[in-house]
Subunit: 413 residues, 2 copies
């Protein structure tokens, strides 16, 4: 272990979650405690803020507001979707980053995000190694999609899963108050992996969930879907469906595209909107039932009021442990979670190479999906249930959440 | 006060809310305690269950499950939308009701619902008076729409308002993470009255709410809307809009209808979906900004996990006081709330004639809407803020709500 003195830069990247700011609190509070860290900067809009030399001096923030970050949804410093080119094709951004790193003596770099963000983190790390600039670089995982490779699960997933499972249970009750038939289709986020949609199975496990669950891992067929819905409808009169926005058919077409094709084939009107509203239209036309499509939209990734305490604590720990490991000499890793075998849920920290995690997606194991391709097995319940335990309780004022208000004092150039 | 011995019938009617079952608990638990009440029946699907002689013996339920009704969303007994004909036009239903009432010696009738349900309750009450069948009949108010006449507010509104205000605050944070422009349009329920949409002003009061709020009380103009959005967009780069599903133009056309007309005029595709998605399409076409439409849909009326404790307690009290007043001899009333003047919020019970409340809608006072017709004044905040105070904490099992499970034992014929 070698002592390295210098400033630290932290950035948030990609789509926000309910707990990405808990990781920010973990990084910032821990970094402010470390003697070898001479300044703590928060980049405005991730890597873009670094390139534009726009970042905040986090020591200027009120400690109480930093504490409130733990229960404040979304990216408090601002996020970005910016893909760095390969350094051997275009070095411009890297040279600029090096310039900024040198100017502020940045020796610690923490980047919080999902697949694309770990790609950014990895590229910066490899470049700094190549040019021999000593900087400890650590990725901090974040994604409601839960699709990062090499970690048991991802911060952000547990809270979104808790929101989704709870909302399914509530809608389940609402959707069966009348003694008339009803099909309710709820659309959940996740373009390639079905983890979020699968969370609806937790509601089914409690007896108040979807009858049918469609994930992007299994090719989606409209005819199979209509058969499934019709069968459940005939048996129960009520059908609750969970569908991933990422469901695709054998040809890789999303439901919106299938809808557009069907529109030309057999319907008189264009099929607009998301998967839920398109499927709702198709069910109405083909089965003639009463039907409602619901999209959770942004709500599923920002509903901090029902965040999982387990998730909040782990997100914080991920940020904190990234700093501690870097101070102890580690670099070029992403902080990851591992779950030891045993009757009780535990979550340990491990480090995985940034190279391995960048751009690699983890999908739901096919053996966790039922044979019919429309539900989850008990293995999934065992996996997911511990992640939604405990209730995060945001501070309230006047019965409404009191979210962190940062001063965002720009670092002096 | 005269002592009246007999059975009691309770029914739920109209769209469900997060707290209608709290009123059910109030009626049922109180009725089970009253010595003069010989049996407590819960009608399956409201008045329809009475007509079909399908109702449950509530004394057969586990007291713990009845207690859980306080935090269980939706209508546990089943709801109905059934309009009784006028008795002087068609007496069939009334004769049948009288037959059932006599058969089971029903001397207390409690009906829980909104405008239409109070109409049912009123008609039943007047008929029983006309034919001289002694029965104490009380309406118990319920509606997220908050539009019942003669009561300061309605059970169900506070919880929906708390969900809406909190969700706006969360989406506000989510919608401004990137340094690119963004218009977010959120659609709230309420076909004729803007109370629910106005609840978003509570989020604005906390600094994290919509920039623009459009209510059904003010005629909606697409051009005015586009001007408003454009102005805020130019100033801030981010716009959050709250729009009621019930917004209509001067000619009384809903936004969906305006969209269809516009589609024929200037757009190449049909405008489907709700107000939010139609307005989102129009903003995209006309202003060229990034835009997202979100509909709260059923979630706003069943999100018991974030119910207002004030609302839960008042809903319970409304049910309880309906029974006590009936036992004390009152009949032909709806239980209503009044708020005494004073620095602290209080909620007292009063009784109003069923005749007065049936089919009368209460809208937002125009003087509570700003001059521009796109926001609320402080008077609304003063009115609504006390209604969302306190957190109802549903019992949890495995981190998910444990809702009431009723046995629903049919009454013996």
């Amino acid at each position: 272990m070698s002592r390295l003195e210098g400033a630290c830069m932290f950035g948030q990247s990609g789509g926000p979650t309910s707990v990405i700011n808990a990781s920010a609190a973990g990084v910032i509070q821990e970094a402010l405690k470390q003697e070898c860290i001479t300044a703590v900067y928060g980049a405005a809009h991730g890597i873009k803020g670094v390139l534009e030399e726009k970042f905040y001096d986090m020591s200027k923030e009120d400690p109480y507001e930093l504490e409130l970050l733990k229960t404040t949804p979304s990216s408090a410093l601002g996020s970005v979707r910016y893909k760095l080119k390969n350094a051997d094709e275009d070095e411009t951004d890297y040279k600029r980053l090096l310039e900024v790193f040198k100017k502020y003596n940045i020796r610690y770099f923490f980047y919080n995000g999902g697949n694309d963000s770990m790609d950014t983190c990895n590229k910066v790390s490899k470049y700094m190694q190549k040019v021999g600039y000593e900087c400890r670089i650590m990725g901090v995982p974040k994604t409601i999609d839960n699709d990062l490779w090499g970690t048991d699960h991802c911060p952000g997933y547990g809270s979104a899963a808790k929101y989704i499972a709870t909302s399914f249970m509530e809608v389940y009750h609402d959707a069966r108050v009348y003694d008339t038939g009803m099909v309710t289709i709820l659309e959940v986020m996740g373009r390639n992996a079905g983890w979020l949609t699968a969370a609806s199975a937790l509601a089914a496990y409690k007896g108040n969930g979807p009858d049918l669950i469609y994930l992007p891992e299994i090719p989606f067929s409209i005819e199979k879907f209509l058969d499934d819905v019709n069968r459940v409808y005939k048996a129960n009169g009520k059908v609750i469906v969970a569908v991933s926005e990422g469901c695709k058919d054998e040809q890789g077409r999303y439901i919106a595209e299938m809808g557009a094709t069907l529109a030309k084939d057999s319907f008189g009107h264009a099929q607009l909107g998301g998967a839920a509203s398109i499927l709702a239209n198709i069910v109405k036309e083909r089965l003639g039932t009463k039907v409602r499509g619901i999209e959770f939209s942004l709500l599923q990734r920002c509903a901090a009021h029902i965040a999982s305490l387990t998730d909040v604590n782990e997100a914080y720990m991920a940020g904190q442990m990234a700093v501690r490991n870097a101070v102890e000499g580690k670099t070029d890793y992403m902080v990851a979670f591992e779950r030891p075998e045993g009757p009780e849920y535990k979550c340990n920290i491990k480090l995985i190479n940034l190279t391995d995690v960048a751009n690699t997606e983890k999908k739901i194991p096919l053996e966790w999906i039922n044979k019919e391709g429309n539900g989850l097995t008990e293995d999934f319940i065992k996996y997911a249930l511990p992640l939604i335990q405990g209730e995060s309780k945001p501070v309230l004022e006047d019965g409404l959440p009191r979210f962190a208000k940062l001063k965002k004092v720009l670092a002096t150039k």
